[in-house]
């Protein structure tokens, strides 16, 4: 999310995960892949021969420009990925986001509010291209691939079933045995191993915030709120009178929400704090109002992940807002995943490896 120019260059010169592993002896590598189908970013995790994990990340966005020979040549020279679709040049991924900011345009987003966008007609073909690129081909036919799906939202009426079925079919068509896992449950698989997979996992994504409470790896409560990074961007853009892509850029360039430096950062900090408070209040309400809720004797940890949690000062503000509410269960550590952007994909990979 917070890319420097060096990072972008390194990204463009690095092989994909599929290519990186294709020449190696694959017999010792644990089969199974994890895929984070996020509103803002797509991430695919795979285990390497040495047991380490590689995650391929690409922004879930595209931008169409007029197709002509000059533009095509320029994009090729600049190593900007494109496809020709419906007689248009379509730039996909991070490059689309960068170009949109340069030309003052809005990127097109295949997903909105955590689900496949009903308003974007080219959503599926574009997402299939990106997923195909980051996931690669299965190392053997029917290799297991766990992809994340959001929980139903408590604040809007959304259709998670259609979204899940759609991606199940898309990934299966690529030759995988596609299985879904709740997004926040994946965070628990990734971050709460030391706590015997007991605690609260939160995934702060672009379109939603997903929450899952688990006991010994078994999910007891899952839900989502249809607010996330995009909600912050939309509101910041509204109050600053700028485009959403610009607001996203401002947010991702390195803001510390504990110490906003100007009017733009002030707006970002306000909406971040509001989002965190909203999420905490809803978790509290669900705990207090839910039936068959587990009663934890020992304090449980809260693990935060997702691209929206990457902003500077996030976890401190989270703890500050948490201290303001009377949370119904004892809570121990509140922490952010070591690499919050890839936590969900890694959790999906754990699920794929264990066959959960």
């Amino acid at each position: 999310m917070h890319d420097t120019n060096e990072n972008l260059e390194a990204r463009r010169s690095a092989p994909t995960g599929a290519q990186a592993t294709s020449n190696k002896n694959q017999t010792d590598v644990a089969l199974g892949k994890g895929l984070d189908v996020g509103t803002a970013n797509l991430a695919a995790a795979v285990t390497n021969e040495d047991g380490s994990v590689t995650v391929n990340v690409e922004r879930n966005a595209f931008l169409d420009i007029n197709s002509d020979v000059y533009s095509k040549n320029m994009l090729t020279k600049l190593k900007v990925p494109y496809v020709v679709h419906n007689n248009k040049l379509v730039v996909i991924g991070e490059a689309a986001f960068e170009l949109a900011n340069v030309f003052g345009k809005e990127v097109r987003r295949p997903m909105a509010d955590g689900l496949i966008s009903p308003n974007e007609t080219d959503a599926l073909p574009m997402m299939r291209l990106i997923i195909s690129k980051i996931l690669g081909e299965p190392r053997q036919q029917g290799e297991s691939c766990y992809f994340c799906v959001p929980a139903p939202s408590i604040d809007v009426d959304n259709n998670v079933v259609y979204h899940e079925g759609l991606f199940q079919s898309l990934i299966a068509k690529m030759g995988y045995n596609a299985r879904s896992i709740n997004e926040a449950h994946a965070v628990i698989f990734s971050e709460l191993a030391e706590q015997d997979f007991t605690g609260i996992g939160l995934s702060f994504g672009g379109g939603m915030v997903n929450a899952c409470v688990a006991y010994k790896s078994i999910p007891c409560l899952s839900f989502s709120v249809a607010r996330g990074g995009d909600w912050i961007d939309k509101n910041v853009a509204h109050v600053l009178g700028t485009k959403k892509s610009k607001a996203t850029f401002l947010k991702e360039r390195g803001v510390d929400i504990r110490d906003p430096k100007n009017r733009e950062e002030e707006a970002i900090a306000i909406y971040y704090r509001n989002l965190i408070s909203y999420v905490l209040q809803n978790i509290k309400a669900r705990f207090e109002g839910g039936q068959n809720m587990p009663s934890f004797q020992d304090p449980v940890d809260i693990a935060c992940a997702g691209g929206t949690s990457l902003v500077g000062g996030f976890i401190e503000v989270f703890r500050d807002e948490f201290s303001k509410i009377d949370f119904p269960i004892p809570v121990g550590r509140i922490f952010r995943a070591e690499d919050a952007l890839i936590s969900v994909a890694k959790g999906c990979l754990v699920a794929a490896a264990i066959g959960e």
Partner: protein, 245 residues
């Protein structure tokens, strides 16, 4: 007949029993006797005369009243006999339902055993998946057939239901328990929803032309790569939780 019995009871309640020797000692050598039937006839005659003499009812009306009372008595008697016969029939019906339920439970136990054997590999084996679908359908049929007799019981007369309410409740409870077990088995093998409806085929959403290769430079495209620590520790913990080595 009933009036005679009542008169006999009334006489017994209002008279004392004494021996012949006791009467003889009191100087009574002879006594007059009268039967209860005769007393009843006398009372009936006295009542009829009193009613006729009162001028409130004619003799004809008195006779008609007696006739209607007898007819009403016969009607009530026939109704009670009919209800008794229906109650006996309901009991026989419930016995039949109970036998059917026991047979169904035995069949479900067999199916459970078959599902337990085939469930674990169902996800990877389409043939096994189809077999489980068939078994689940059979279980669902059994469930439906078990609910049918409940309807029969529910249509029985109110008196019979009240009489056998406990048994009907027990059958309903058994059926409910069975339904829960069927759903549990379905969830275990991942085909529970398929019992009621076929899965939606989302692959049709993808148009036929989607598979053709589009002109692009994506083959040269590089994506951002991030390295992360391994997941061996997580897997070991999970396996331990699941009871594995």
């Amino acid at each position: 007949m009933e009036s005679i019995v009542d008169i006999r009871h009334a006489l017994e309640a209002r008279s004392v029993t004494t021996s012949l020797d006791s009467l003889k000692n009191k100087g009574r050598d002879r006594v007059r006797v009268i039967r209860a039937e005769q007393i009843a006839e006398m009372i009936a005659e006295a009542v009829q005369r009193a009613v006729a003499g009162s001028g409130l009812m004619t003799q004809e009306e008195v006779d008609r009243l007696i006739h209607e009372s007898r007819r009403e008595f016969q009607t009530v008697l026939a109704q009670r006999q009919k209800e008794s016969a229906e109650a006996r029939a309901a009991l026989e019906e419930i016995d039949g339902v109970r036998a059917e339920l026991e047979a169904a439970q035995a069949r479900v136990r067999e199916l459970e055993a078959e599902l337990a054997q085939g469930g674990s590999g169902a996800a990877n084996d389409p043939a096994q998946g189809r077999l489980i679908q068939t078994l689940m359908a059979e279980v669902a049929q059994l469930k439906a057939s078990m609910s049918q007799p409940q309807v029969v019981v529910a249509t029985q007369p109110v008196q019979a239901q009240a009489q056998d309410g406990n048994l009907a409740a027990a059958i309903a409870k058994l059926a409910g328990t069975l339904e829960e077990r069927i759903d549990k088995i379905g969830r275990k093998v991942g085909v529970s929803s398929a019992v009621e409806a076929d899965a939606v085929d989302y692959s049709r959403i993808f148009a036929k032309g989607d598979d053709k290769k589009m002109e692009s430079n994506l083959d040269t495209m590089q994506v951002q790569q991030k390295s992360a620590g391994g997941i061996a520790g997580n897997l070991a913990k999970l396996k331990k939780l699941k009871g594995g080595s």
